[in-house]
């Protein structure tokens, strides 16, 4: 074996040794790197952006409208305790107390993209917390009922009668709310509405229906084709 060949062989060997050491260092680096628990869900920046935006809120009028129209995509979730839920809850709501939000039994209600999930509680507080958790996990279509049940009560169940100087829209809103309250089985027609807003609220008697007769299409005898 020539001297040159020998030295070349040693050099090749040295190269392999260096490569082996690099591999060991890289593998050892994985062991030695400081460990951190990976956060699940969306990035913190996006979380803050979503949290600052008020897009998640849905107001009581819109919700009432969607319930009355039997919107099938609405999924109401009551984040209060079971006891409170039994005392009063919105139509077709599901009770998921905040502390059980991520339980296996309930997670499928929240982690989906078919329904518009609407959280509510007595006010924004629990519902917002539930929304925060869901948003952090990256779940879609989560909303919060703005003002919660208190707002629901103040606007739909027991709307405040607008002052005389308020614009026409306020009265219209009032009558809509009143009607919605009646739909939910609580409101009654109050005397002020009968006298004060008679003109605005009572709709005109419907005009007699005109019967439009459709001219019947003449049956055409199929002509011979080629």
């Amino acid at each position: 074996m020539s001297k040159r060949y020998k030295s070349k062989k040693i050099l090749v060997k040295r190269r392999y040794q260096i490569l082996a050491v690099i591999l060991l260092i890289l593998a050892g680096g994985l062991v030695l790197l400081p460990k951190y628990t990976k956060s699940e869900g969306i990035s913190p920046e996006l979380f803050v952006k979503n949290a600052l935006s008020s897009e998640r809120f849905i107001n009581t009028d819109l919700l009432a409208d969607r319930i009355i129209n039997n919107d099938p995509s609405v999924l109401l979730i009551d984040t209060r305790s079971e006891k409170e839920f039994k005392e009063f809850a919105l139509t077709n709501a599901i009770n998921i107390p905040l502390k059980n939000l991520l339980d296996e039994d309930y997670i499928d209600y929240i982690d989906q993209d078919v329904y518009d999930v609407i959280f509510y509680s007595n006010d924004n507080f629990y519902a917002n917390q539930a929304w925060m958790i869901g948003n952090r996990m990256g779940f879609k279509n989560l909303h919060v009922l703005k003002g919660g049940l208190n707002e629901w009560f103040n606007t739909i169940i027991n709307p405040k009668y607008p002052e005389e100087t308020m614009p026409k829209e306020a009265f219209e809103l009032y009558s809509t709310r009143k009607a919605a309250g009646m739909y939910f089985g609580i409101g009654t027609i109050d005397p002020t509405m009968k006298t004060g807003t008679k003109k605005e609220t009572i709709s005109k008697p419907a005009a007699p229906k005109k019967v439009i007769t459709k001219p019947k299409k003449k049956k055409r005898v199929p002509e011979g084709g080629c």
Binding site: L23, L24, L26, L30
Partner: protein
Amino acid sequence: MGPLLPNGIIPPEWNYIIAILIGIAFGYIMEATGFSSSRKLAGVFYGYDFAVLKVFFTSAVVAVIGLYYLDYLNFLDISQLYVQPTYLWAAVIGGMIMGVGFLAGGFCPGTSLCAVAIGKIDGMVFTVGLMIGILIFSESFSVLEPFFESSNLGHITLVDTLGISPYWIIFIMTILAIAAFAISDKIRNKVKKVFY
């Protein structure tokens, strides 16, 4: 971020195109490393050439280290990667059959196709045998099925079985790989040189 395809960063339409490109690259590298020669492959069993062991072990170790660094840096979610289910006894028996075939034929399925691509006759014969084997297995699958599915352990990895952190497993595997390379070099030096 990653994996790129399941997370929709690359649209799924690219699936097959990427698969073909990776396949071409894989075949090219196997051919370039000399894996289309059955003598080189059989060398592992006779102790005169350990290229197969070195190449596959190195690529596995490099890939796993790279993947875990990407995971650490949040470029990739390792938990989203697909893990092949383990059918323990079926895999043991299958491995033995494959080993015998490997030694007798001098190819594994991938390298045999490489050999076919460069026009080797033994590769073609091997591929025909491969097809016959696949046919026999498929036709007798209803008989084999109970055994095939008897020991399904699910999508497990060493991390689940041993309960050790994956980083330690990678480190130990790296040491084992380097030890295996050193020992295989020693063996090769002792075995009579074969020129092919």
